[in-house]
Structure formats: C-alpha cells, structure tokens
Subunit: 474 residues, 2 copies
Amino acid sequence: MVKDLSHLLSDQSKGRQPSPLKSAFKYYGKDDIVFLGGGLPMADYFPWEKIVAYSPEPPFEDGIGAQPSVTGKSVVSEVHKHKVEEFDIPLARSLQYGNTQGNQELVQFLKDHTEMIHNVPYSEWDLCLTIGNTQSWEACIRTFCNPGDAILVEEFTFPSAVETARNLNVEFVPVKMDAYGIIPSALDELLANWDSSKPIPKLLYSICTGQNPTGSSLNEERRREIYSIACKYDFIIIEDEPYYFLQMNEYETGKKTELKEQTHEEFLNALVKSFISMDVEGRVLRLDSFSKVLAPGSRIGWIVGQSALLERFIRLHEVSIQAPSGFSQSIVQALLGRWGQSGYVDWLIALRKEYTIKRDFTIQALEKYMPTEVVSWTPPIAGMFFTIVLDAAKHPEFKTKYNSDPLEVENAVYEHGLKDGCLMIPGSWFKAPNVPKTNETTFFYRGTYAAVPLETLGVGLERFANAVKAEFGL
Amino acid sequence: MVKDLSHLLSDQSKGRQPSPLKSAFKYYGKDDIVFLGGGLPMADYFPWEKIVAYSPEPPFEDGIGAQPSVTGKSVVSEVHKHKVEEFDIPLARSLQYGNTQGNQELVQFLKDHTEMIHNVPYSEWDLCLTIGNTQSWEACIRTFCNPGDAILVEEFTFPSAVETARNLNVEFVPVKMDAYGIIPSALDELLANWDSSKPIPKLLYSICTGQNPTGSSLNEERRREIYSIACKYDFIIIEDEPYYFLQMNEYETGKKTELKEQTHEEFLNALVKSFISMDVEGRVLRLDSFSKVLAPGSRIGWIVGQSALLERFIRLHEVSIQAPSGFSQSIVQALLGRWGQSGYVDWLIALRKEYTIKRDFTIQALEKYMPTEVVSWTPPIAGMFFTIVLDAAKHPEFKTKYNSDPLEVENAVYEHGLKDGCLMIPGSWFKAPNVPKTNETTFFYRGTYAAVPLETLGVGLERFANAVKAEFGL
C-alpha cells in the first residue's frame, strides 16, 4: 500500500506552485481559440529540418565497440521536423519549449523498460526525465531536505554527491560498510540509538550496485533488510544506479572469461533485485541514467518513484532546468525506437560482456602482480571500479617513519605509484564527512577498468604493484 | 577598472570547493601515466558514429522559414566521433563527461560573437555555457543571494523568474516602469531612501530588450543611468536578454513594412547598447540564449561576465547540471561553424525581418480593430510581445458592477475574449511581489505575435477588440 510521504517534503518543495500562466495554457492548441498567450518561437524558424544519426545494429555480435562504418551494419535514425515514425519525437516538438516531464515517446519507452526490469509493485508510479544523476540527486535533496537536515550516506561515497549535498547545507550521517556494501545491522543500530532530540534522517543515499568508490554491490538479502529498516524508521531510499546494467557473474580464479552471449532471459534473471522492485510503500526513488550505458553527454537521466512525489520534482524542474535537451531526447529516442526494447537489451548484454572481460583481466593482473602479503581485494560483480586494500601495519616503518598513521602510508604509496606512472585514487578521498576515527590500519585505492584499453591496464597495475612492493620493502 | 565583487557572493557560493578528485585529473591524458582514476566510459562504446543535420543556407534570401528540402539549398553538418573539421566538437568528446564551462569550440565561437556585438570594455571577462536562461538566472541567485536577501525586479516581470527566486527564499523589491522600461530616477530614489537597517539588494534583474511581459525596451540613455546607479549602490545587473536580436525599427503608422535586407553594418549599428558593453567595473552578468534565435530545445544558454565571478558559477554547475547536452553542443556548433560569424548574422537579420513583419501586422490590426477610446498601446521595438492598455474608469459600470476595482474589469474582458475565441494574458498575472497598491485605473493585456501565423493573429485581435467593445458598451 503506497504511503502518503508528503510529511517528508522540504518547506521549499511544499511551497512550490505551478505558474499562474499554466492555467491559460490549457487553451493552447484548441481549434476555436486564437492563443496569443505564450512566447513560443515558431518551429518553422528552427534551423534544423532533419537529423540523421548512424549507430550499430543489434544484436551486436561484433561487439559494442565495433563501428558501423567498419562492420557495414548500421541503424540509421532519421528524425524530421514533423512526425514520420510513430516512436520518434519530431524536432518541431523536441526543439520547442517542452514538457518538463519529458517527451511522451521517450518517457513511455523508459516506463516499459522499467516495468520489464523492475516490475514496480504498485501502480501509482511515474517517471520523469532529468539531466543526469547529479542533477537528480540535487533535486532529491531540494525536494526533501531543509537546511540542517541530515541524510544517511555510505561511509565511502562519491565526493561530487557529497559536494552537491554540502552546497545545500545538509548534514551527513555515514553508515558502516564492508566489502558487500552497507551493513544492514549497522544501519539499524545507528537508528535505534538515534539521539531523539534530532529528527531521523529523511533520506538514505546509496549507490547500491558497483558502488563508487568501493565497487561493492548490495545483494537482494541486504536490500530487503535495508528496505524494512526504511519502513520502520520512515525514511526514503535514493538508489543511485548508473552502474546497474554493468553486472557480471562472480569472478572465479583460474577460470577463463565466459564469453557465451547470455539470452535475454538469463540476463534479466541474473540482475540483482533493485530497491524499487521491492517498494510496496512507495518510499524508493530510483535514479537511472544513460551515462554509463549509452553516453554521459546525452545528459539524460530519469527518476522513478511514486507519482505524488514526482509531481514535486516537476514543479522544481519548471523553474530550474526546464527539461533535458531536445536534441538529446530526439536522437536517443530515435535509436531506442529503432532498436526496440529487445535491441536495447541486446546492447546491455553486449556491454556487460565488455566489462566482464575488463574486470576479469584486471583481477588476473592483480593476481599476477600484487604482493598478497600486504594487498587484498574482493573482485567486483558490477560497475567500473575495483579496490585494493592494504594494511599499513604491515609496513616496516609504519610506527617510525609514518607515526602509525595509515593516511601517511596511503599517501606515500599514491605518490610512489604516480612517480612510477600509474594513478589510483586513495580511498580516504572518498570518505564521507563525520566518519568516526578508528584504530583500523587498513586503507584502499580505487581503480577503474572502464577507461583504458586492456594492455594499458596491465602496464598500469604492474607499475602500481611495484610501487607497493618498493614502499613496503618487498 | 574591474572591481573585486567577491563580497557580494552568497555564503554557499563562497564555500564551494573544487572536487578533491580534480587535483588527480591534472594527470589525465599524460603519456607517461596510466590513469586509473576516473570512471569514464570509453567513447568506443557510445552508439553514435556520426550525426548529420540539414539546415538552411545563408544568406536566407527565401526567408528563415523556407525549408532546405523545398529551396534545394542546405548546409549539411556532419559530426563524427573523431575530429574531422577544425571547428567541430567530435562526438567522442561532446558525449563524454565534459568540460563544465562548455566545449572550447562553441565557447570560442560565442566569445568571438560577444566581442563583435558587445565589445566588452575590459579584458578579464569570460563566458560559460548553461542550459538556458531559467537555469542561468537560478545560478545567479544561488551565487549571490543568501535566503532572505532582496533583489530588484521590474514591477511587471516573467512569473517563472519570480518563482525561481521565490523557491530560493529571496525577497522582491519592485522597480517602477513606464512604456520604456525601468525609470532610472525611480530606481535611484528607491535606493536613496533605502531603509539602512537592511542591506541594499545585491542584484537587479532586468529583461531589458523586448521585456516580458510589457514589450518595453530600455534605450541606451536609461541603461547608462541605471549602470551608474549600480556602481553608486554597489549591486550587480543581471541582464536577461533572450530577445536582444529581435530588435526592429520604430513602427511608423501608415508606412509599409521596410523589407530591404539590412547590411551587417546597419544591423550591428542599430542594436541598442547592452549593459555589458558599458560595464567598466565588471558588475554586469549577461544571460544569453539560443532559445529565441535558434531553438529553445537546444537548452543552451551562456553567461558573460568577469572571470572571477564566472568561476563560482562553474563550481556550482559541477555539482548540479554538469554541462549542457553534448548532442546540443556538437550539433549547434557544427551549424555555427559552417555558417560562420557572418552567416549567423545573416540569420539574425533574416529573423529580425520576420518579427518586423509580424509586429507591423499586429499594430496595423490594433489600429484597425481596437476602440481607441479605451485602448492604447506603444508599438514594441523588440521581442515577441505587445501590450494593450485599457482604462477601467472608462467602463460605464466600473463603480456599480465592478466595485471600482480595475482587476475585476481586467478579468471580465479576459473571460469575454476567451469566450469569443482569443486569449491574451491579463497584465496583473505578471505583477512582481510587493508592488504597492495605487489608485491607478489602467491595466493591460500581453499578447504575442511570435507563435501564430499572420492570418490567425488578425482573426484573434479582431475577436479581442470586439470583446473589449462589448464589455465597454461601445
């Protein structure tokens, strides 16, 4: 049963009104009314008559990196000023002042996709476009948090997400994680012992699959536990899921990378259950994006959640971003319309394969080069990131040269790696505000296998391994 | 001499830090470093190899509404994944996580354009892309205003701009206008009598050319006076100028519309001097946009101002919008690069001609249909809007039926117009907050000649004129 969560809205969000001019716009386009109300330029004056985009063709058996000009197979997406294909967003509409929620064709494609992947367990859900998850996240904070409110965050998280929230004067409450993400019992304990003079945080922000920076992924069991904690303490879960489709099989040492194409059924069944898929109360907002699966520059993301909450986002967008680019909407939808839901799944399966190859190569390189006396890792099962964990206490000069401070060792190895020609980011850079000090001597580095070709990746990891060995005197 | 205006920044803006990860990014792309720092997808995986757009060709002698498929003349803009033309933004870059300021090719084109049009009188100016003037305006408020701060606004202004500011808990101080925009002496008097227990407003927000809703335009003399008031009282002028290039000759009753093409020199000389063109102290932020001259759906605007202030906008954009759509940037720049500065001026001249035809037609229709006993107007010299002013005191039942309330008469005529099939927006809908009550009996309606073909416009104005006559018993 979907709950009314309007008590969680921020004061600003509660106060947002539709523009008074909107009441006049209901007469726009009526046959018997000459509408002199709106300052819209005529589409005749948009200097684009037609846009044609060339893209690869499903089922991508030559790989997603294979370019149509080489394979000879391409999907040609033609978008005209006026409607030709049923699924296209004509330029006369996409390039006009637009529907803040998003053009219906793309919204519908994404709703069908959401239904297929997540099977949202209530009917009053909706979807609104954004210009990417950073903006979606900012909109979440502005919709729910008053200045001074607290939010729950993973103890290591995406620094830009922290900056976004800090800009809005929000306080951070970090939640303990392990190699598999948030520890549900730690979250429950934190809230059970909450200082009752302060309100319970309204939001939990989690990058739950292929987490940035740890590479960890919450399994279904943990998600169910966390969801029931959210219901118990009445907060909203913001699942920020740009890496959701970069899920892979578990890594198995010594096993060759499995390159058989998954069937659609295998692919869909293997995806971890999302928070929104178990959201019977309507207290999850799912942030999705094309950034990691198509291209970041599309600047199209979307939020899925209960309609009554999404309406508040639309009010905010009307007076800030207005809508994502019409070029982006027309071009992306032209491709998705031609690929169809099935072709899009083909793409996601092929993408997953590329990342599996990279992940496997990375872990094999770690196995080959890293001194396991001081370095350990948990192979990621999703996303773009891997981490290596080191124990500063194993450094022979930990007490003498580094004053028993793991941060100093972390920095020394970072600098040494850089000098030797490989950059990995120190884990401490991702520490959320207000994480309590502990006596732990372990620390980590975040690397990515997304951005570089395999050969370069191997060279880099060997260099970094040598830097670790040199620093630790191995 | 450009002034340091950092004392005008909001607390939030002062506190914005670059991401710590940015310090690592200086190693990105260096030959001798394997960079495992950033979660960027590889451009090989962006499913767009090439985008081709078809646009009209300068000098547009068949008019800007003439489509290339009909005239046979077209500019074909091809953007590839990798760089081909010097001026193009290749898709591999535009579709990647990007430069928050904007891709250099487009930024440079707009800087050259700004230099040509405004000749900014100091050297330390810069330009950063936004996703349109609504977002630019929001960024201005967030960069300068703390909650509770006051801003100066035109007494009739764009309701969406008011909502944007209201959402950020800003107070409004309306400035008196007449048919030619803000009255400088009224602004000076307002500030001379300012309650010294409150800080002077930090911003003046003005839609100075073809103002929305009044259609008024500030002439050079008024701008110079307002600029010197800004220097005297130390505030920043936000000139929101989407309609700047829709400037026309003065309307002359009985004269046929002048359809001779202007030369570039005539066009450039006839443009009213902008605030930024007289900004010796660096206290103007100019908000420009493609929305009215190319297409609103491009979602590309830009801010021009002193570099030290723009740097603060870039910090904000990094944690909110990130950057405008890469599709938009590539496609718009591909067209501008092919048109060149000169072709773009051809376009603006041709656009101006279309609007001049519409403006002239509109005023001629007003002259033909409106009962001049109760209706008056000042023909606009810029923009998309015209207004008609009525005097409620001339209504025979003003005191009896309408309780001497001009708003009631305004609403009655609006409703009557709507019933007769023409919608014009009541001027009171645009009144800024906190405008003091007066005994004035005049009120106005805003109409637009932008959105409808001429014939329809004529039909609408005749209907509205008849509604006025019927209401006023003429």
